[in-house]
């Protein structure tokens, strides 16, 4: 460090250590922290009249009560269902894929495979979702193919249902699950698995007792990376969900864009964040509770050999 250098000039401008981060900090505070704080403030207000969007002269929790009223509550339930099912499916689909990419695929192909998973991730979200709209359309080629193969009785009737939204979100967020899992499995490394096999463990036992526990950070990262944006999803639900596949994201958006009720929309946004945080906390707690007996059973105490 320059400070430790013996040739450091005697008079130096003392800049704080975080000086270089200051512009970014200021930028994020003024266009992220302050706006979010404003939203929280709005959520305690009300919509003053037909043409006003928000007022805060009387503060109350009424907007929260309204946001959780039965009409909107079903949407929250629906969102939570899609969020949990979507994340679960991503994990189920993504884990074997990531394991195959990191462990079983030939090493010289791994770069290519990672690139192949990343291409969909970096193509336009909206365009990918429109691709699904084309595939799932009742008069589309996929529907006709299924009918020609006599797999379905009539045209495909998935579009604009919750199933379509689920397919869409699993598709859209799957790369976010595969990439961290790939990194985690890749980190475990071959020698450890070989050691496990040499010590008599079978394939399955090696996976559950060595590979998976060591890849746990990747599982956690993938789950969080998928679950959080999925809960706030707006585009997929709009393109594939129609009126029935309602998500909270759409609800918040409509309060701001069409209903012009910023107070209620803000309350919904705050509730959405709270629901996400609470669900993550509950899942983390559950995972911990489940892991306690497993760890206790497999604990190995090394006796001191005299």
């Amino acid at each position: 460090m320059p400070e430790a250098s013996p040739h450091a000039p005697a008079v130096r401008l003392r800049v704080p250590r975080f000086a270089l981060a200051l512009p970014a900090w200021a930028w994020l505070v003024s266009f992220f922290v302050v706006p979010i704080a404003t939203i929280v403030w709005f959520s305690f207000g009300y919509k003053p009249g037909l043409f006003g969007t928000h007022a805060n002269d009387v503060l109350s929790l009424d907007r929260y009560r309204e946001a959780l009223s039965p009409t909107f509550f079903t949407t929250f339930q629906n969102t939570l269902w899609v969020g949990l099912a979507g994340t679960g499916l991503c994990l189920l689909i993504g884990m074997p894929t990531a394991y195959w990419m990191a462990v079983k695929a030939p090493p010289n192909r791994r770069g290519l495979l990672v690139a192949l998973v990343m291409v969909p991730y970096w193509t336009n979200f909206l365009v990918r979702t429109i691709g699904w709209q084309v595939i799932l359309a009742p008069q589309g080629w996929f529907s006709e193919l299924l009918q020609a193969l006599h797999l379905t009785g009539g045209p495909l009737e998935i579009l604009y249902t919750r199933t379509a939204v689920l397919i869409g979100v699993v598709y859209n967020y799957l790369p976010l699950m595969i990439l961290p899992l790939f990194v985690a499995f890749d980190r475990v490394g071959g020698p450890l698995r070989e050691a496990s096999k040499d010590l008599g463990a079978g394939r399955w036992r090696t996976f559950t007792r060595v590979t998976l526990p060591l890849a746990r950070p990747g599982v956690i990262a993938g789950t969080v990376l998928v679950f959080i944006p999925l809960m706030g999803d707006y585009v997929t639900a709009t393109v594939l969900g129609g009126a029935r596949g309602n998500m909270v994201g759409q609800l918040v958006a409509s309060q701001f864009q069409t209903a012009q009720n910023w107070a209620l929309g803000s309350a919904m946004a705050v509730v959405l964040i709270l629901v996400i945080a609470a669900t993550v906390a509950v899942i983390a707690a559950l995972a911990w509770v489940v892991s306690v007996p497993i760890r206790a059973r497999h604990r190995l105490v090394l006796e001191e050999v005299a």
């Binding site: 250098s5 958006a253 946004a269």
Partner: protein, 303 residues
Amino acid sequence: MSTTTPSRQAAAPATDLGPPPPTRPLRSWGDRLLRVWGLVVLVFLFAPIVVVVVYSFNDGRLLIAWDEFGLAPYRAMLERPAIRSAVTVSLQVAVLSSLLATFLGTMAGVALARRPGRWTYWFIGLLLLVSVTPEIVDAVSLLPWVVFLGSDAGLTAFNNGIVRLVVGHSLFSTAVVSYIVRARLVGLDESLEEASGDLYATPLRTFRRITVPLAMPAVLAGYLLSFTLSLDNTIVSAFVQVSGSTPWPVYVLSALRSGLRPEIAATSTVMLVLTLAALGLVALVLRRSGDSATDIARTMGGG
């Protein structure tokens, strides 16, 4: 990400080549199943993209109903002024917002890697918060704020659509660039900077001549990632945009309501090729600077 050390750099070529593959007599059923599964997932991941590219050659009136093969959508793409202006706005915003994010993020990343302290926890917490907040919440909170800044606070710049979009797109990207730059510098020894200081370089000169060149691959990768993120941004754009400067994804979103036409697929295909070119460049830059497939995946997955 903080565990990377210079030894990783040295070991990278060796692990890339790997030991000679052990000759396996027979693949087990489990392995075959895994392989089929992996390939099916890849097909799943590419299906809608392939569909959009194929349907961009649809000469029909509506995107969803296939009519016949033709190049009419590409001609229409070049002729429709609305499409041209939307793409132009998107490209302008992408260039500006990614420059801004790279500038802010690089400095923040350097500070995080080279000047850590108690402040680091707070700052990384802020960056994490920025990257995990659902985009819709970002969007609805930014809208009242820019309206307030533009009208009540008298900062008329915020009535400009481009400015609003640049601000909106720069937030998440700043966090991403900070992570990438920090991850790269943490993996590099500080001795070069120390040597520069010992040779009487001023801190500014050391920063300009040593630190920035060392961080350059990460900076470039961060820039291109911000660029694609900005091109992709739909939700924040839909909220903060001003009519007259509608970016491309918002144009597509509004076209959804009036019926999608094949031009949209054609333009998307062109944008896809552009994005892939940018990403290829990122991967090339990272590989040149000695990253393995895993490191590239980590960097491009946003740390």
